[in-house]
């Protein structure tokens, strides 16, 4: 992972240092502090805050996987909600039909996701840009239709209810244990993504994104790596969907509308393309945004009158923020973050002086 150079005299002298995830002591310390804060959080937070944090972790898993596909491998997908639905329905169907425990359903969801990833990815071997976007969009509708068909045929027209998962005699039901499970899942996903990206696979993806023909000339098997991007991303997404199903205890097609896809794309865009930190920031932003709007609206005088239009206000504000980011800050939250960092790095100067100085 080539990162931008720092202001201090920290130079990487070997490939090992360039590959290291945590190069400096500051990075190590801040990671430990951050980890302690995350672990301590559920003991001081209210149940509502716990739920919010868990939702952010769930969204982060999905956003990270979409970032791998779109932000790094450069393949556009408008079928993300379809993959989440596939994972959730795998859990729902296996639970309803076979009463399968979670250690069967989660891997099953990953396998279903990987298979769907092949199907979603096959058009990418032939199509690019807009046409790829459309084909994934079409597949989204097919997946959601199949899910809805299962619901209505089997008589779960309102949705499938799933019992909370059990380990031995311990039932994972309360907010705090879910918080830790989802935190662990999100951290694991992040680690998988980091490892993929600093290895051969990630370099191949970035080469494909930069220029397909050049990548092929460099000896990268385009078809294989494109499919691999779809398969890995889809498998992670389906697991996220499976976790979502367990967390909610309920699966219904209504939850997986096109709007969900748009939300995940918004996370990637608002966070910042081509950055895992961006995916995390975007996931937090998009998940918390409706609650912020709700809070702001209810703080206004005459709060009760607004309750009915809350949904519409959310929609408009969300669209507005998305347009604002696309037009004024295409680099997303990460772009803002880097600008703030650079401001302090360069202070008291406003611009970078010569070549080799930090950007």
């Amino acid at each position: 992972m080539s990162r931008q150079p720092r202001a201090s005299g920290y130079f990487r002298t070997g490939y090992g240092a360039d590959l290291a995830l945590l190069g400096t002591r500051l990075e190590r310390t801040s990671l430990i502090v951050f980890a302690i804060a995350l672990v301590a959080f559920p003991f001081i937070a209210s149940p509502f805050q716990l739920d919010l944090a868990s939702q952010v972790f769930l969204a982060a898993i999905g956003a990270l996987s979409l970032m791998l596909l779109t932000g790094y491998a450069g393949q556009i997908s408008l079928g993300h909600a379809g993959l989440i639905a596939a994972g959730a329905f795998t859990v729902g169907i296996l639970f309803q039909e076979l009463k399968a425990p979670f250690w069967i359903t989660l891997p099953a969801a990953a396998v279903v996701g990987a298979l769907l990833g092949v199907i979603f990815g096959l058009p990418s071997l032939r199509l690019r840009g807009l046409y790829l976007a459309v084909s994934t969009l079409a597949l989204h509708f097919v997946v959601v239709y199949i899910g809805g068909e299962y619901e209505s045929r089997r008589g779960f027209s309102t949705g499938i209810v799933i019992d909370p998962p059990k380990i031995g005699s311990f039932t994972i039901g309360d907010g705090r244990s879910w918080y830790f499970i989802l935190l662990a899942a999100a951290a694991l996903t992040l680690l998988i993504c980091l490892n993929l990206l600093r290895a051969r696979t990630g370099r191949a993806w970035r080469a494909i994104r930069a220029h397909e023909t050049v990548a092929e000339a460099l000896g990268i098997g385009i078809a294989g790596y494109k499919l691999l991007a779809f398969v890995i991303s889809s498998a992670i997404t389906a697991v996220a969907g499976a976790l979502f199903a367990y967390y909610r205890g309920f699966v219904s097609v209504e939850a997986f509308s096109l709007f969900l896809t748009i939300q995940y794309l918004a996370m990637v865009i608002i966070g910042g393309m081509g950055s895992l930190l961006g995916a995390l920031l975007g996931a937090a932003f998009v998940t918390l945004f409706p609650y912020l709007i709700e809070g702001a609206l209810l703080a206004l005088p005459g709060a009760q009158g607004y309750a009915g239009i809350l949904f519409a206000v959310n929609y408009s504000a969300f669209g507005f923020v998305m347009i604002a980011f696309l037009i004024f800050e295409p680099l997303g939250l990460v772009g803002i973050w880097q600008r703030v960092q650079n401001y302090f790095l360069l202070w008291p100067f406003r611009h970078r002086s010569a070549a080799g100085a930090p950007r």
Partner: protein, 290 residues
């Protein structure tokens, strides 16, 4: 017979909506995911003007049509102009964001309840008996006629009008066109305006026929399938694609399962993408194999 009438009406709806996708794609290579929302906005504008000019239905319709043209031009001038030269994904996402914004605003302004502009205009919508017992509502008949009219006008405009020729030139080679003195911004704005105009006409007529609410967005999205099946840069293709998709959808609803109606257009689309991604009448230049 009734099946054929149904197919014709649905094909007319799809064709009228699909030509909006084609116009924008042909000129600026952008896929407008907010087309359904813009069509819905046009229909709601008609609802407003209908309550404003209660005595003059024709004035109301004319005002709504002009306003929808202005909306389309404004969308380009204010937002999409800034996206020229950006990634495909960024442009698509901007249109999606516009769509979400419009959906929210429509509910804020006009509420989410189903509206009936037909009653506001004091029109009635009796069904007409055609040959062999097939029936068609007046609005649907107007819709079919309107589609023929719009397509005739568009063909004439693109073939003979000087702005139409400039539009085709901008679509074929923007750089060359700009160097020969074609104002690309004006052309793109015109394409957005015309696209929104035709979409809004479709939206208004659907609203007159069967009421107006948020479900129109789905029709708008489904209408992308005919545009792509026919070839994204071909008007003839959009017409043929509309007939194919409408036939497939009506037959599937009638013979297999009514729930299929939302999926069939996309199944046809996938089949087309596998066999001939550039569509029946499209040009295949920008789609090279890997």
């Amino acid at each position: 017979m009734q099946l054929i009438v149904n197919i014709t009406v649905l094909a007319a709806i799809y064709a009228l909506l699909a030509c909006g996708y084609v116009l924008i794609y042909r000129v600026s290579r952008v896929m407008n995911m907010a087309h359904g929302e813009l069509a819905m906005l046009g229909a709601y504008l008609l609802y407003s003007t209908a309550s404003l000019f209660t005595a003059h239905p024709v004035t109301a319709i004319a005002a709504a049509v002009v306003m929808s043209l202005v909306v389309g031009v404004l969308v380009y001038v204010l937002l999409m102009r800034k996206m020229t030269g950006e990634m495909v994904l960024a442009a698509i996402l901007t249109t999606i964001a516009i769509g979400i914004l419009l959906r929210g605003l429509v509910v804020l302004i006009w509420s989410a309840a189903q509206q009936h502009p037909l009653q506001k205009l004091h029109f009635s919508n009796p069904s007409i008996e055609l040959i062999a017992g097939a029936r068609i509502s007046t609005c649907a008949a107007v819709l079919v006629l309107m589609t023929i009219l719009v397509y005739g006008a568009l063909f004439a405009f693109l073939r003979f009008g000087s702005w139409g020729i400039r539009m085709r030139a901008a679509g074929q080679n923007p750089l060359l066109a700009a160097q020969r003195g074609v104002n690309l911004n004006a052309i793109y704005a015109l394409a957005w305006g015309l696209s929104t105009l035709t979409g809004s006409i479709a939206g208004m007529l659907i609203a007159l026929d069967s009421g107006l609410d948020q479900t129109m967005v789905v029709i708008g999205l489904k209408a992308f399938a005919p545009a792509l099946v026919g070839g994204l840069d071909s008007l003839v293709g959009a017409l043929v694609g509309a007939v194919i998709v409408a036939a497939a959808e009506v037959l599937a609803i009638h013979y297999i399962d009514p729930l299929l109606s939302d999926v069939v257009p996309f199944l046809v689309l996938i089949a087309m993408l596998i066999v001939r991604p550039w569509g029946l009448f499209g040009t295949r230049e920008e789609l090279d194999r890997v």
